[in-house]
Amino acid sequence: MSKIIRLAAALLFAFAAPVMAQDIKVGTIFPLSGGAGPDGQTVTNSVKLIVDQINAKGGLLGRKLVVVSKDDESTPAVGVSRANEMIAEKADVVIEGWNSPVTLAMQPILARAGVLDITAVSKSDLILSGQSNPNAIRINSSNGFDAAVIAKYVVNTLKAKTVAFLTENDVYGNGFQSAVEAEFKTMNFPGKVVATEKFAFKDTDFRVQLTNLKAVNPDAIIVTNASNSSGLPAMVEQYRQAEIKSAFVGAVGIMLTNVFKVAGDANNGIVSADIYFWDLPPFNSIPESNAFAAAFKKAYGADPDKGAALGAAAVQVWASAVEATKSLDKKTVAEAIRGKTIKGTVFGDATFLPNGQLQPRYVVFKVVDGKNAKLEALPQ
């Protein structure tokens, strides 16, 4: 008897409620103003591009995707407000994070509300280990993986005997330096770390530190500076002005477009690594990457950089998981990503560790023509 009532009720609802294919809301929260504004804008543009591509192919689960983009102004308190707005607007997923403190502030808010939170760029280890979000996913590489690549180059390829660090004084910089030093230990590095100089993220004048480093004259200086729009280009120029002979080895991911644009040929000879270059192997032979690069260039008139790739991959990974599980539920989709491999992203096959970290593929490069951002890939 109750079964008939339940069936009747279900039929009643099915006919009474208008069948509306609601749009799926893809939220983005990145800095769109301030110092990191242009970077955040690039990532957001990339997300929009991929969403347009998905819509052109019929959408996701038969529904159209809509991007809701918000500006966190690189301020955690503002990010929290934006996250609350996303919750109110019933976003189905939020792709966020250029500055780690903003991500860390938004995480618990989004997690509590059951909204899936994919961190595209922020690098802090706490994002995955902090337990604020048990379903955390991060696309950008972590300091741990980065350190291995750089240490390998310095020890095996460069065969440096003396190494110095020029490190940004915060958890990101100090964390990277510690990770590299740990790698040195694991690899039984025969050389020595002879000096460490630190600076604040906002600094633009490094002559004091460079003077100290020049006096020590190590074989290599490992530089960690995330201030791609002002500090790092200034540092590169001052490094050359000081005529420091030591090899400039940049931490993973710091050599972004602005650094080349501003410091130009001063960059020549710098060796670093990153997780995406549209025109270097292995990425230039991945069909999805080539398609993405062409579409990005067409839509925005510039080649996509790593930030753009991270934004694109975030959407692709999420969309794949949704398609595979036929669900928008946070836990279901997250579990289809964490510890799993997603095919068909701009990175090729995207393999995630159980903790949500995407395993990166690195390109180690040397700058041959800084003015035109021409790089030469080095063997790893």
């Binding site: 301020t75 308190a77 403190p101 860390l104 618990p108 902090g130």
Partner: protein, 328 residues
């Protein structure tokens, strides 16, 4: 006072008490009245917390006539105390609140003593310097959080002997935030008529008279400054539980400018001035955001224009337009 005046003031205060109770009740149910959504709760909780933060700086501005640029220090002390003690030692809300009050008093005592003989812009600059030093310490001292701060602050736990209040969601935290706001308002209303409050006002407005009455301006200054600190500190304390994350961003000018704007926008020594100012600013940021750059232009223009045309705050406009003589 004649009996007529006494009874009139008696019934006046009776009416005012009634009005207050009604407003308090409406205020408490405001989130429900506005839809009961999580956004309503979180926005109003944020407004309540930020308003309490502003009252600290308001006391210093209204009663000492000085602009303290260092109150973010107390805001951060509250946040960091709550975060560190609850995450590292599992202390409950009462303990962390008491620790916050104690630390704020100590910090304000030191800073107040240092600035005792400074006035106006030197006072402002010195308090600003203190905030900068505080920021640098918080940023570089990994033991208390470092540059990435402390994540995973557990829900607020306030044991009441027979039951424990646990502030897990925004809905749960609202009564605590509202209670804190109410307590602050009551405190300020009392303070205005207290010995210390009236003495401070006298020192500010007529130093000669105050001196002749034997009031020591330095003692008053220190007392008022020290009193203002735990208010902002407790706001920071609750903020840590609301956001579940505390970092050096607590020192950012974002909070300082919010405090200053909310306090001067409506007017000085108006009890609900900072509350209304905070509500307006948060509403603009959340509901009428025009993007980071335009928001700055609007905020800056509003600040500058309001103070240029109505140096006493928007209340000047209200009064000029023939507003009532309500003693807010």
């Amino acid at each position: 006072m004649s009996t007529i005046e006494q009874s009139r003031s008696g019934s006046m205060s009776g009416t005012r008490a009634a009005i207050f109770v009604v407003l308090a009740a409406v205020g408490f149910f405001l989130p429900k009245l506005l839809g009961g959504t999580s956004v309503a709760y979180s926005t109003l909780t944020t407004i309540a917390i930020f308003a309490v933060m502003c009252y600290g700086i308001d006391i210093v501005l209204s009663y000492l006539g000085e602009v303290s640029l260092g109150h973010t220090l107390f805001w951060a002390i509250g946040g960091y105390t709550a975060a560190n003690l609850s995450v590292k030692y599992g202390l409950n809300g009462w303990s962390t609140a008491l620790a916050t009050i104690a630390l704020c008093i100590v910090a304000a005592g030191f800073l107040g003593a240092v600035t005792l003989r400074t006035r106006e812009f030197v006072f402002s600059l010195v308090t600003y310097a203190a905030a900068v030093v505080g920021y640098e310490i918080a940023f570089n001292w990994d033991a208390i959080g470092g540059s990435d701060g402390i994540v995973g602050i557990a829900a607020l736990k306030l044991p009441f002997g027979f039951a424990t209040f646990s502030g897990l969601t925004q809905e749960d935290l609202w009564p605590v935030a509202f209670a804190l706001l109410l307590l602050t308002l009551l405190f300020l209303a009392r303070f205005r008529h207290s010995k210390l409050g009236t003495a401070a006002l006298m020192v500010q407005m007529n130093p000669a008279l105050a001196a002749s009455l034997g009031i020591d301006p330095r003692r008053i200054r220190l007392a008022v400054f020290v009193l203002s600190a735990p208010i902002t500190g407790l706001a920071g304390w609750l903020y840590a539980y609301q956001r579940a994350y505390v970092g050096p961003d607590m020192f950012e000018t974002y909070f300082l400018v919010l405090m200053l704007t909310a306090v001067v926008l409506i007017g000085r020594r108006i009890l609900v001035g900072p509350l209304i100012g905070t509500a307006i600013l948060i509403a603009q940021q959340n509901l009428f955001s025009l993007g980071g750059d335009w928001n700055k232009i609007v905020l800056g223009a509003v600040l500058a224009l309001v103070l240029i045309f109505w140096p006493a705050g928007l209340i000047g406009l209200f009064r000029r337009a023939g507003g009532s003589k309500l003693n807010w």
